[in-house]
């Protein structure tokens, strides 16, 4: 009897462990990556990206809580903040003012991200090393852009050579190249020169255009941008279309041609009908 009982216990335990191991197998691997962004030498932020592989395809993972650290991936004092991934699997954290002291300690930093473990995913980590750098954008009277990439070495900003960067004009739905060349490489002085060839490009009401220089996904410096507003565009005066006479306008604002045509037809047809009613009166008179 005891032997049978023991057999049952063994079977139940084995079943339990097999279910537990199956449950563990059901978890997918969470893959994290991150990027450092410095926009116009003013706004710094970090973007974490979470994805996983399901049925051989990468899928973005939303709703993952991610902790952001600077120079250490566990100390509470180095925690920059927490963000949750969106539908695209991105979690964005603006650099908090409290991180300034840590940021000023060194010219190079390591940022780390750690995901919070869940029923679906185990903890995952990723790091990125960033050297302090900035972009400087200048212009000349003959419509040339001079962009310089500088890196902080100890206490001095020194030019960086052989780095790819883009120069463009900021537009509503993306960037427009200033000429036929999209990407330039910095020379020994850390500088590139690009000629502006977009004459008569509509700007704002004063003709202002925003020029932008970019370093994208660089292994050492991350993502850097610099912007400058220049009066190189044509002046664009916004004219409200709201009260114009169009087919889709509100009442009383139909096009003149439609009003003339419609009223002319109505008046002429009804004129004929009124004339004919007059003829009935005439017939009546003749019969009296």
């Amino acid at each position: 009897m005891n032997t049978i009982k023991n057999k049952y216990i063994v079977v139940i335990l084995l079943s339990f462990f097999s279910i537990a191991s199956f449950a563990q197998d059901a978890k997918n691997d969470l893959m994290l990556s991150m990027g450092y962004y410095n926009n116009n030498n003013l706004t710094q932020y970090l973007v974490a990206h979470a994805k996983t592989k399901i049925d051989g395809k990468f899928q973005m993972v939303p709703d993952v809580a991610i902790k952001f650290y600077i120079n250490n991936d566990s100390a509470a004092t180095n925690l920059l903040g927490t963000a949750v991934t969106n539908d695209k699997g991105d979690a964005i954290l603006m650099m908090p003012p409290s991180a300034k002291a840590e940021w000023m300690k060194s010219v190079k930093h390591t940022f780390a991200i750690v995901s919070t473990p869940s029923k679906l995913y185990d903890e995952a980590k990723a790091t990125v090393d960033v050297s302090k750098a900035k972009l400087k954008i200048d212009t000349t009277d003959d419509k040339k852009l001079i962009v310089t990439l500088l890196e902080l070495k100890d206490t001095a900003w020194v030019p960086v050579k052989a780095v790819d960067l883009k120069v463009a004009i900021k537009r509503l739905d993306g960037d427009l190249n200033v000429n036929e060349t999209a990407t330039y490489t910095t020379d020994s002085t850390g500088t590139i020169t690009a000629e502006f060839k977009r004459d008569s490009l509509p700007g704002d009401k004063d003709g202002n255009l925003t020029l932008i220089a970019k370093v994208e996904d660089n292994d050492i410096y991350g993502n850097l941008t610099a912007e400058k507003v220049v009066k190189w565009g044509s002046k664009f005066q916004y004219v409200s279309q709201f009260d114009r006479r169009t087919l889709f306008a509100r009442r009383g604002h139909s096009p003149w041609w439609l009003e003339l045509l419609a009223y002319a037809i109505v008046v002429s047809v009804w004129g004929v009908l009124i004339y004919l009613v007059g003829q009935i009166k005439k017939i009546k008179k003749l019969g009296v």
Binding site: E259, K284, L286
Partner: protein, 437 residues
Amino acid sequence: MQNLEKEQIIQDLLPQEFGKQGKIWVACLIGLCLIGFGAYCHQLSKGLVVTAMRDYASWGIYISNFVFFVAISLVGSLITAVLRLTDVHWSTPLTRIAEIIAVSAITFASIIIVVDMGRPDRFYNLFLHGRLQSPIVWDVIVITTYFFISILLLYFPLLPDLKIMLQYKERTSKWMYKLYTFLGSFWKDKPEQFKITDKAINILSITIIPVAFSIHTVTSWLFATTYRPGWDSTNFGAYFISGAFLVGSGGVLVAMYVFRSHYNLKKYITYDHFDKMGKVVVMLALLYLYFNVNEFLVPAFKMKKPEEEHLKGLFTGEFAPIFWFAITTSMLLPILILVTKKGRRPFPAFIAGILVVIGSWFKRYIIVTPTLLHPFLPMRDVPASYHHYFPTWEEWAICIGSLAGALLVITFFARIFPIIPIHETITETEEHEHDKK
């Protein structure tokens, strides 16, 4: 012409009292109208929720009925104006039938459009705040104009007949005599009066053609100016007008047979009239068939995704039975019947006319509702009933009531006024005899 013959024509064509059949017919029509009116009162108190119209199928059989009425009303312009201006004389006995069909149909088209409104008490806003760019405003303008022209076209040729009816006091009731006196006591058969009347009828015949084309083109634009599968067509105006002439002519065939047999007008509405009118219907059915092929073949050839869903719904899907019924009864069968000489005899022609009218009513339903049930964006998160449309009893009752109302107007008109122009018939007979001599 001998006086006896003239007298015979007058006696034959003067309005006749309702017999037993006529009274039953009128009672049935009044009954249907009352049921329809009761259903409308119910709809007014409860709102449009009593109908099966929902977020997607927001136009149901009320609008189908409206398009049908507008379509059938066009026959007035075809028979009265087009045939008159082209100097076709065989249509003279049919002009008044066509005109009264036009007047009654256009009256009920205006009524049914108000029925489709959730808040008819706000109808005046259309006049106060209507946009000139909107086809709805054009529709109101052309319907009113067309109604007025049709009334005048009915009235001018009636003037000489009113004098004749006033001479036969014994054949009229008191109130009818008063009505004739009010409408035409001033008619003295003076040449100047005839001159003015002829001129007025000619002016009206010319005016009504563009107005009639406008009325149905504008109705088609209510659909075609929207970007939807099945409606997004540049062909819609011509497609609607050809269909309208067909249904109107079918209606005239039916009315010709009914009046001919009920009022014993075999001498006036002859085999020849059925033969000629039958040929007109065949021609119009072929024309409408041609436009239908255009309407369906071109989108079917391209098979854009939203059109595909719509067309499959019509050809083989949910609407296939009604679609094929409408195509068969409104066009194919009437062509097969009327294309032969035997088929153009009164009774087969009457059957063909009925098929055209019934098929055409369902054709309007096929134009209006299936498109609404195939929107560009998929229907999501809506009750299952929103995916389909089947009219409620209120909708059926109101539509049937309106059709009965239109028939009632025609019936009462035929009771009060001669359904075949008396004076014109006498004149044409005299001219015919004069030509013989």
